[in-house]
Symmetry: C2
Subunit: 216 residues, 2 copies
């Protein structure tokens, strides 16, 4: 059975995966780029920008696990764009350019389904109104033997964790106190009982936590 | 000038330094002993129990910093005991035995001052109704050239951090999600700007964070 994975999901010390006041100009709200700074120098991020090279070491190693063996992604609507409610006729095709970094089917959870959006490079956005279980069934079918990535944002990851649908969770704790925004851990009391957890600190200052589902 | 230090202060992944439903039987509430498990095997804790030996390694190294160079402690009333409001005539002398592990003056913050309580081994509890600044002035005078430790609980540490009175903060992040209780980080947005922060993961599973106040 294919696994369900979350990668490179950054939170502040106080557990916020995004700040307050999110907008088109500030997808992470008042957190700005601080949650993803550890990621910027990695070859994985640089390749997304069409550049080569980058750091080696523990941040780069974790970052690179993102795409390996992934056959589909599920994301919340807020990760796709800043619009809320009915889709405006604004030509929005996601935060990415015409060749998004996913290169797989991507299932966007929304209460406002619309026709699929086929991009370059193998990424097709499917807009579906579905529960986590229903979305996962569709994504698994699209992924074949490969794994399904839960791409975020915060609410989507939290919902899949609450529904006990996640097999592997990689969280990056950034040493900042955001104070406001969207919290990852809310409603997940006792989560540790379902996972083996490892922590490793990086010289960059962040701590990588991996949660691997315990064998039944 | 003597420094103000916090040591061995454990929190859950979601930032709780104590669980909900605290009582005489459960000083950490529903968290039970889970927040302090990393500490139990250290020589520092074993010595508090009158035992010798214990673990070596990073948990033991951090734990041992607790008493070195400390001349006084400030603690919140809830760390001293489970009573609230007026002091009952119940002979309560703290969670510890007649020779508490502090061996210095200890200033207990309470809205209900009472005469000092002199214990064996150099520990004297002073019960004062004071702001963080006022309490610190008294503790500094008692400590002489030595440092002042803020001993907890959560609210007391948070108040001293909010008042920017802490020079060194050692936090231990335990990989559990408590879900309810008292949060350390609330109201401390931007705390990282005042400190240099290091993280180191321990084989025990916890992560030690040290916050050292930046030179002005």
């Amino acid at each position: 059975m294919s696994r369900v994975r979350v990668h490179n999901f950054a939170i502040s010390l106080d557990g916020y995966g995004a700040g307050a006041e999110q907008s088109l100009e500030a997808p992470f709200g008042h957190a700005g780029g601080r949650l993803m700074q550890w990621f910027m120098g990695t070859p994985t991020f640089r390749a997304m920008q069409g550049a080569s090279g980058g750091s080696e070491g523990v941040d780069a190693a974790f970052a690179s696990r993102w795409a390996t063996g992934i056959g589909a992604e599920i994301m919340g609507r807020n990760k796709f764009g800043p619009q809320r409610g009915e889709w405006p006729d604004d030509g929005w095709q996601g935060w990415w350019d015409d060749d998004p970094p996913f290169h797989t089917p991507v299932f966007v959870l929304t209460h406002h389904p619309r026709p699929p959006l086929e991009m370059k490079g193998g990424t097709t956005f499917h807009f579906i109104d579905a529960t986590p279980e229903e979305a996962l069934a569709q994504a698994r079918e699209a992924a074949g033997d490969d794994d399904v990535r839960i791409g975020g944002g915060v609410e989507t990851v939290r919902e899949f964790l609450a529904a006990d649908l996640v097999d592997h969770l990689h969280v990056v704790v950034v040493p900042i106190v955001l104070g406001r925004g969207e919290r990852l851990w809310d409603g997940l009391e006792g989560l540790e009982e379902r996972f083996d957890i490892e922590a490793v600190a990086s010289p960059s200052g962040v701590t990588h936590l991996t949660f691997s589902r315990r064998a039944a």
